[in-house]
Amino acid sequence: MSSKVAAPGLLDRAIIGRAAIDALIKLDPRRLARNPVIFVTEAVSAVVTLLFIRDLIANDGSALFSGQIAAWLWFTVLFANFAEAVAEGRGKAQADALRRTRTDTKAKRTKGGSRDYDIVSALELKLGDVVLVEAGDLIPGDGEVVEGVASVNESAITGESAPVIREAGGDRSAVTGGTTVLSDWVRVKITAAPGSTFIDRMIALVEGAERQKTPNELALSILLSGLTIIFLIVCTTLWPLANYSGTVLSLTVLIALLVCLIPTTIGGLLSAIGIAGMDRLIRFNVIATSGRAVEAAGDVDTLLLDKTGTITFGNRMADELIPVGGVGEHELAEAVLLASLADETPEGRSIVALAKSRYGLAAPAPGADARVVPFSAHSRISGLDLPGRSLRKGAVDAILAQTQSIVDRADIGGAGANGAIAEILQRAAVSPIRAPEDFTRAVERISRAGGTPLAVSENGRLLGVVHLKDIIKPDIKARFAELRAMGIKTVMVTGDNPVTAAAIASEAGVDDFIAQATPEDKLTYIRKEQQGGRLIAMCGDGTNDAPALAQADVGVAMQTGTQAAREAGNMVDLDSDPTKLIEIVAIGKQLLMTRGSLTTFSIANDVAKYFAIIPALFVVTYPELGALNVMKLVSPQSAILSAVIFNALIIIALIPLALKGVAYRPIGAAALLRRNLLIYGLGGVIIPFVGIKLIDMIVSILHLA
């Protein structure tokens, strides 16, 4: 996990200062109308303020009480606004950093196919314009490389300073405005109009300007509005019921009761939770185009993971040396080490690494008499010629062709065990040769396990076989087990044949695999799963991944991918790390859990508030109701005031949790629910009893009521 965009601290001083001002600006009722719970709180705060003014004028001694209630009600609203402002503030700080890269860039707009150009402002570029970008230039807008190759510094977006290669054609053709060409030149066709470039969208997203309520947020808002209406009914009807019982309730205490009962805690924190969820993704270098996508990530049932790069390392690596024909293992190791010295391919380097680590060999520097045979894609062989020794290592058929071993056809024609060799030879159009029987067996075994065999020879004699295989990332199996515990099915997508795919799938512990996968296969698989009611997440980078990315519920496009892929997905991973899909799911779950937990907490809080307020309201008429005053609060007024203060302060107290999110643990839904119910449900019932009691003690010590 890396966090490259500088993450402002949870309680950064600058952000808090800005948020405090924003909290005041957000008092505008037109803005608050989006949040019914806090809107109601603001409306009744205004009413209590009027009552306070009336009490001041009447000067009957009740102004101290109504004034304090009014103040704390306003604090409740302000704290809720503040929570939202802090969450937004963190995004704004990042947006400012991004905006700095979007200064008015000059562009070299070319005419026709020539290399002549006019210098124009980047803002004047239109879709389809072709610009020339040379070393040292900022790329003026999002586009596709139509000609040339260049190394590009994309750190403005990704925070990663290592340059990446961008070239015409293929899956590395997309460039992003605001990034810098370091070397060479490219001609770029502009694919996004100014104002709607990737950076523009990113700024809008982190600032929350495009924020709309997500489906689940909407559903939760409905629940909270429903509860608010219920408590409005409860408090409105309480006045006549109290009147019947001989108590005339003041509007101030009824409003205090109302604000304590309506779910102000979750109402105040709800949008902060949503913004913080997006923010967590952004700090994780993933940009989601909508909050909906983050939510969907929490619901994902099936993950489609590309084998290469996600489950296995990008390249096949040497895993085992199998000597043949009586050769010692150590002798083979030494020979293959020498033969691979000049092989700079990842496979070659992995052989050297294996020889060093497993056989304790040191790589000798070839002497002056040594002649290096470098690996070439044509010969598929590398080697080293020493005086009297000709060491070779390479593809089985290529080595066999070299060894000039003579074979009789019947030996192989029997198919069965020799099928693989026969196939290799046929493909290579090499005449059949005789190989030692144990060599044949080793090659056969490796092929069947999905690996790639390499042959090693010395002076034309076969020494043994190197087993190159897909090395599964060391921690990936545990992570799949974790996903399974979350209830998520993992599906490996690979171009390998079914035999190889099955072998890797079982080793990595995925639940299913798609072998010899074409982009259409992925799409079909996604549709099939969705038909069964499941939500699918996948990542991809190629243009041919675009339909599947668009079809998936969560489609994560790699930043290095093509423009088409980036448009099709609903998230872009700036680090282009496909394993992140797993963390994205966890972030989505965390978002939903935080919402649920704080809702539960908010509602559970009400029980204690009733025990504080109801006896206080009726103690004059029915002193016997004092039995319900289980907290033994000092006076009716201090009881009501303490409940209101608790109700306001709890919002501030929970801001860090809302921003950080409730920790997600992959322990299965039932265990998770039990745990959270205990903490936020039962805790939500108990904590306010303690909190209100403490506040009441302070209030009475200070003689505030």
């Binding site: 006549p240 929490g298 979350m486 009611g533 939903l592 649920g596 009726f618 029915y622 016997e624 998770l672």
Partner: protein
């Protein structure tokens, strides 16, 4: 409390569950329209009904058409019942020569019976002719229960089906519910009651000469048949004003237990049938267990409160061992009176075998709170199940988020639309109960109907609106409800409590039926285990406590505290 009392309670509840499980298998088959034991006998009868009414039983309805059919049926039922009462003097079978029922009372009574409430602002034996009792009231005892059954069937189908545009056919559900479920059970129970001594005759009354030589007119009539459906259909409207406390409605301890059994058995069977319909018996079992726990808690609290007796009487030397016997029948005793009270309010029956008004404050709080919860444990026929499922949806929504997924119940995602519908339904109760209670508490004319002052009077008002809103119909006695104000407002409360609640529920059925069914995984929390049952109970207690805490505090709770201090009302 004593062992015999507890044993009586345990035996009745065990018999209910014992009968409900097999009955649920039968009901599930009826719901699905599959062949069952009664098909050979009843299929021809069923076909006649469809032929006569021109209904194509194979043609299913969308939720909107289903709801419209239900509403149309209810309107016709209301109009005909109203007409019957207003014209009873010119219609036959009026041996006692009763006058037409007054307009406001007829309005109230008609609403009351089509909504399965059976709130009675009148004494049946001295107000309604036999024709009204049989053709009007008893018929609606069947039809209103069958309507409830149909609505529950629709919601269950919503959960059981995937991507279906329809939720069933109202006319078919109504017909099958009546023919296959209610009628056969009623015949059995009615015969059992006759055997136990309940009268069943068409003559109006008998004259008796008392020991003093005075003449006494004793009302009788077709009691056993009405009694059976009164309990089985969770209706509660008695033939006599004294309801199941009357010796002709329930002559002895056995008939008392049989009646309790009858009013509980179908609602519990429906919960189990729900599980069978969604192809996971455990789901229904969890609902049934949650219902049972709420019911048992209520019974035990009421029994404890009543068995302790009245401390004021004890202090002046009255033996507290029989418990608080005020308003109770000696042949039933405290234990089964407490059980009856909790069961009749836990279902939406509202029949009584003792006067809840005379219970101790905490004993009276149990039936009151049962009704404030909407009579959902186990609830009325059909109404209990859909009421409980609405709460399950709300509970799953809040708790489901806590496992990090957008919530789903039985594979159905709960989204903004379902939440909106659930909240619309849930809102109706506090709006009616608290709104009308508050209005009544303000109006001097409405307060004049109270028998008692202080917190007990408040309990009487809240009880009346709780009882009508949730279509229970039991009375706290102290309130004289036969006034234009109460006849009208209680009538409105019954209408809203039934229809304003069920329309969103049916819309929810349509919405769920149209959704895909997501398969369960380890990421979805199980809704069949103890954790879910606990969650449901927690949500129910907190949700309703929060709504009614102030009203209860000013009513039974403070009355209880005052009683301890020696004050009564």
């Amino acid at each position: 409390m004593n062992a015999i009392g507890l044993a009586q309670i345990a035996v009745v509840l065990a018999t209910v569950v014992f009968a409900a499980v097999p009955l649920s298998a039968f009901i599930a088959r009826v719901l699905a329209g599959e062949r069952n034991v009664l098909t050979p006998v009843l299929l021809p009868v069923e076909r006649v009904f469809y032929k006569l009414s021109g209904v194509d039983p194979a043609r299913e309805q969308s939720w909107l058409v289903y709801t419209s059919a239900m509403l149309a049926f209810s309107v016709v039922g209301f109009a005909s019942l109203y007409a019957l009462q207003r014209l009873q003097n010119v219609l036959p079978l009026d041996p006692q020569g009763f006058d037409p029922v007054p307009a406001d009372l007829a309005f109230n009574t008609s609403i009351s019976f089509i909504t399965n409430t059976n709130w009675q602002n009148y004494s049946g034996e001295t107000t309604m002719s036999h024709l009204v009792q049989m053709l009007g009231l008893t018929v609606h005892n069947f039809l209103s229960a069958a309507t409830g059954l149909a609505m529950a069937f629709a919601l269950v189908r919503g959960f059981a089906r995937a991507e279906s545009p329809t939720v069933g056919n109202f006319w078919v559900d109504l017909t099958r519910g009546t023919l296959y479920v209610l009628l056969p059970l009623s015949i059995v129970v009615a015969l059992a009651l006759v055997a136990l001594g309940v009268p069943q005759t068409l003559s109006g009354s008998v004259e008796a000469t008392t020991l003093e030589g005075a003449k006494q007119v004793i009302s009788i009539g077709p009691v056993a048949s009405q009694e059976a459906i009164k309990e089985l259909g969770t209706n509660g409207g008695g033939f006599f004003n004294a309801n199941s406390a009357h010796p002709f409605e329930s002559p002895n301890a056995i008939s008392n237990l049989l009646e309790i059994w009858a009013l509980l058995v179908i609602p519990f069977a429906l919960a189990f049938a729900f599980g069978r319909a969604v192809l996971d018996f455990r789901q229904g079992r969890a609902i049934a267990i949650a219902m049972l726990i709420v019911l048992v808690c209520g019974v035990l609290i009421a029994y404890w409160a009543e068995a302790a007796g009245n401390p004021l009487l004890t202090s002046i030397g009255v033996d507290p061992s029989p418990g608080n016997m005020e308003g109770k029948e000696v042949r039933f005793g405290v234990a089964t009176s407490a059980l009856f009270a909790a069961a009749t309010t836990g279902t939406s029956t509202g029949a009584v075998n003792s006067m809840h008004d005379s219970f101790m404050p905490i004993g009276g709080l149990v039936p009151l709170f049962n009704m404030l919860m909407g009579s959902i444990a186990p609830g009325g026929v059909g109404a209990g199940l859909y009421g409980f499922l609405v709460l399950a949806v709300v509970a799953v929504f809040v708790a489901g988020l806590m496992v990090g997924r957008t919530p789903e119940y039985l594979g159905k995602k709960i989204e903004a639309r379902e939440m909106k519908l659930a909240m619309l339904a849930v809102l109706i109760y506090p709006l009616c109960v608290l709104g009308f209670s508050a209005a009544s508490a303000l109006l001097p004319g409405a307060l004049a109907s109270l028998n008692n002052a202080g917190p007990h009077g408040l309990s009487e008002i809240v009880y009346a609106f709780a009882s009508t809103t949730d279509n229970n119909g039991s009375a706290f006695a102290g309130l004289s409800g036969n006034t234009p104000w109460y006849n009208t407002t209680l009538g409105i409360a019954m209408t809203l409590g039934r229809f304003a609640y069920v329309i969103p529920v049916l819309a929810m059925a349509g919405s769920f039926a149209a959704k895909k069914k997501a398969p369960a995984s380890r990421g979805t929390f199980p809704t069949h285990g103890p954790l879910f049952i606990g969650l449901l109970l927690g949500v129910i207690v907190v949700l309703y406590l929060l709504q009614y805490f102030p009203a209860l505090a000013l009513g039974p709770v403070v009355e209880h505290l005052l009683l301890a201090a020696g004050k009564t009302f």
